[in-house]
């Protein structure tokens, strides 16, 4: 399970479960947010990552943070 701002690289390296992070220098944070908003974002990313760990995948998948934006790559 990889959280990264560069999901195509993680997929290429063989990771099955990839969650798109925010940016290279801060994959699970966003400095433009307030402290409270950022805590909320971190929680959302972590929970999303846990959901991915509980999910069976038959092929490499890249997920976005919001469930509605989920995409799967071959």
């Amino acid at each position: 399970m990889v959280i990264t701002a560069l999901p195509s690289i993680a997929s290429m390296a063989g990771a099955t479960r990839v969650l798109r992070g925010i940016a290279i220098t801060n994959p699970v944070g966003d400095r433009s947010l307030t402290r409270e908003q950022e805590v909320e974002l971190r929680r959302a990313i972590t929970e999303r990552a846990l959901t991915m760990l509980e999910t069976e995948f038959s092929r490499r998948s890249v997920w976005e943070l919001k469930p509605g934006e989920a995409t799967t790559t071959p």
Binding site: L6, S8, A10, A13, A23, T25
Partner: protein, 440 residues
Amino acid sequence: MIEPRIIAATFVLEHVPDLVRYGSKPSRSEEQFATAAGKGRSYDDAVWYPPNQVFIGNLSPDALRDLSRPWWAHPGDAHAVGPSGEIMGQSQFYELLARLDVFELVELGQSAAVGPNDLPLFDAGQQIGVFHGAHEEDESLSARVLLENLACKASGVHALDFLLKQKRIDPEGITYCIGAGEEAVGDRYQRGGGGIGRAIAEACGLEQAGGADVKAFCAGPIHALVAAATLVATSVHRQVAVVAGGSLAKLGMKFLGALQTDAPILEDVLAGMAIVVGHGAPSDPVIRLDAVGFTSPRSGHSQQAVLEELVAEPLRRLGKGLRDVGVYAAELHNPEITEAAGGGDVPDRNYKMLAGLAAVNGDIEREAMTEFAIAHGLPGFSPTQGHIASAVPWVPHALKRFEDGTLERTMLLAKGSLFLGRMTKMWDGASITLEAKNAD
């Protein structure tokens, strides 16, 4: 024909003091470089350094004019993230190198063994990993060359990723990516074959993008912008990215100068750039394809003739004179680095020559030359990263000025030292003019 516009530009820095030893000059001057221990800068010192703050957009270039020299002696409160870029620290950069490496070149960890074809990687004096060469005999695939190339890819990826996130640009909407850096990627049978633009695009998720590299020494980014603007204007592509990573070979290039003074080694950063050309919004500046400047063999080796071809002649096509350009961006090397090594103030010299051209062509009076050089010029603020220092770091600042309505026309001009490659003695050069929608 579509009017091509610059819609976003980012410039980033990677603070890599422990990679300075692998710069060309330090690695050739090992004994002298050993005496430079203690001349390195901390990450915080690199962040607040005023020219670096200008580079990432937290300060305007003009702010440097009001700041007494040396600039490195002005510690202040500063952020590592700016509106058009950010400064990454060394350990994070090593992680990025490892993540972008798809050929098991980078091995992080203190237990990694250094083989005869490898280079040790250090962080704060400790060995933290190894960079492996990919071939015993092929110099193009040696650890030194591949480290240069991967560092170039990584800094380019950092810049493009920052741009996509900051400006909320859909990576799949960019369908062509031009690499404009100076690194020669390839093996011994096709040294300099290219592909770095493609590699950067792939890593940044530009799933729809083709691309190629444009090589033109320091003028590479300007030639690449001309190509990008042409592809957009002719509807071949809707959005094109021009990207370039930093030059590891140039780290510590002038460190001998720093040894003579109290100054720290300021060439401890790699730079990366990304610029997107597309249809854009009406407030984005247009690249005037009817006023592109190139040098030709007829200007020979004369600097004055080169400037005539790059500046005066394209402006004549627009029916304009030299005073009609608000700001000229030429080579923007930080004078604090070049002066210590005896190279003088490169931007200042360029603007004096430009003012000379304006006087010769009758655009201004001879007495107004100094005033012209300041009013239409910029102080140097870019690290000495070759192609990156050439005019383009002005672009994010220009975009802001166009948005504010305080800039109507600006010209970017870059020169390339073709003679360094020993194939011709010519100078190369290229220029583009950006204009606001309602420019007179």
